[in-house]
């Protein structure tokens, strides 16, 4: 029945056209930079991460409150990180740093975590390929392959990684972690894959500070990209040329 086929084809094309036109209209009618339909639509569970994106974060140190540990606490809760009473070796994915300019006395407070470098030293030095950068820019440790040599911890200029020294129990389902492997901030990849923000970003917003902005650096319309264009910002240890995914304003 050729006529029917032709008709259904036409209908499909019509639908696609109408859908596209609708999306275009939504994008056009709103103020520039404010979009109803974001280009980076949430991907479905069976779709792999895309190399068209690069996840990143902006830390606005002017909004980060001295003494506040909401982001650190949220991270510990999300990943089930527990103190073993040995601060020097206890796992930490994110830490708060207090800095003071000795000349002016100006104080800064900011969180430091894995900077998700484009050319990550931890990935370079890993002898087994356990340390890797996902196509969307998130640097991870595949603990199934990690042999616990800790070269990556030595290589990381940001001291972002931790090593698990003890046998662990009661891990949380989304964050497997165990003795003899290295671990670090994952940008909450299990949440990002489900279209949610990292736990630290959520906690910071909830506390009313809004010092952390997370998003796609490759999408010029994302909130992150807009803020990165508006605010002067820098990479920490920019001299190393790592093109970090975490940028700082007000440092």
């Amino acid at each position: 029945m050729p006529s029917n086929n032709a008709k259904s084809n036409m209908n499909t094309e019509r639908r696609v056209f109408i859908g596209r036109a609708g999306a275009a209209a939504a994008m056009l009618t709103l103020a520039p930079g404010v979009r109803l339909v974001d280009l980076a639509l949430a991907r479905s569970a069976d779709e792999p991460a895309s190399d068209q994106m690069r996840w990143g974060m902006l830390v606005d140190a002017t909004k980060c409150a001295q003494g506040c540990t909401e982001c650190v606490d949220a991270c510990n809760e999300e990943f089930g990180l527990e103190g073993m009473g040995r601060p020097k070796t206890d796992a930490q994915y994110i830490r708060k740093i207090d800095l003071k300019d000795k000349t002016t006395g100006k104080r800064y407070s900011l969180p430091v975590m894995c900077q998700h470098c484009e050319t990550a030293p931890c990935v370079d030095v890993c002898p087994t390929g356990a340390s890797f950068r996902r196509v969307d820019g998130i640097v991870l440790v595949d603990k199934h392959i990690c042999i616990g040599c800790r070269y990556c911890m030595m290589a990381c200029p940001f001291k972002a990684r931790s090593f698990v020294h003890e046998n662990l129990t009661n891990q949380v389902p989304e964050a497997p972690r165990g003795k003899g492997t290295v671990e670090s901030c994952t940008f909450c990849v299990h949440r990002v894959d489900r279209d949610r923000e990292p736990a630290c970003v959520e906690a910071c917003s909830k506390a009313g500070h809004e010092a952390l902005v997370f998003g796609d650096m490759n999408d010029p319309g994302s909130r992150l990209s807009q803020r990165l264009r508006q605010l002067p910002n820098r990479q920490i240890r920019a001299d190393l040329g790592l093109n970090t995914g975490v940028r700082y304003h007000g440092v």
Partner: protein, 146 residues
């Protein structure tokens, strides 16, 4: 008499089937039933190939960010963990629980649960997360750089 016994036992075998006879001879593991009617694959396929499904899913999720639920270990826990009388989840690898029964029977050690959770996420008492003396020590929580 002997012929009669043979006929009788043959009739019994035909009636009950070979598997039942084998089961009578060989003690088989009987893991506790999971939730629902049917697992994500037929039971005999799961028995033989669950480790292959898990390994495949592991790499897909870790490296490509694919988060389908069908062969996810986290989802296994949703159906195959039981609760004790106080309503607390029992670890899936604890003695007599789902994973343990067959793995104990076949003498195969699992590495999964050295890292992976053995129960669905359950709220922990606040005291278990941070010991009180550490919780009040600000330098531990802030990690102030020297």
């Amino acid at each position: 008499m002997r012929a009669a016994t043979a006929v009788l036992s043959w009739a019994l075998i035909c009636a009950t089937g070979w598997t039942a006879v084998a089961a009578a001879d060989t003690p088989m593991p009987t893991p506790p039933r999971g939730k629902g009617e049917q697992c994500v694959e037929p039971t005999d396929v799961m028995r033989r190939d669950h480790m292959r499904f898990l390994t495949h899913q592991r790499d897909e999720t870790m490296h490509r960010g694919i988060r389908t639920k069908k062969h996810s270990l986290v989802e296994c826990l949703e159906c195959h963990t039981r609760k004790d009388t106080q309503g607390k989840f029992l670890p899936v690898n604890a003695e007599g629980e789902f994973c343990d029964v067959c793995h104990d029977y076949s003498g195969v050690t699992m590495d999964c649960f050295e890292c992976h959770a053995t129960t669905p996420r359950q709220p922990k008492p606040a005291s278990a997360r941070f010991p009180a003396e550490l919780g009040s020590d600000i330098s531990f929580r802030l990690r102030i750089a020297p």
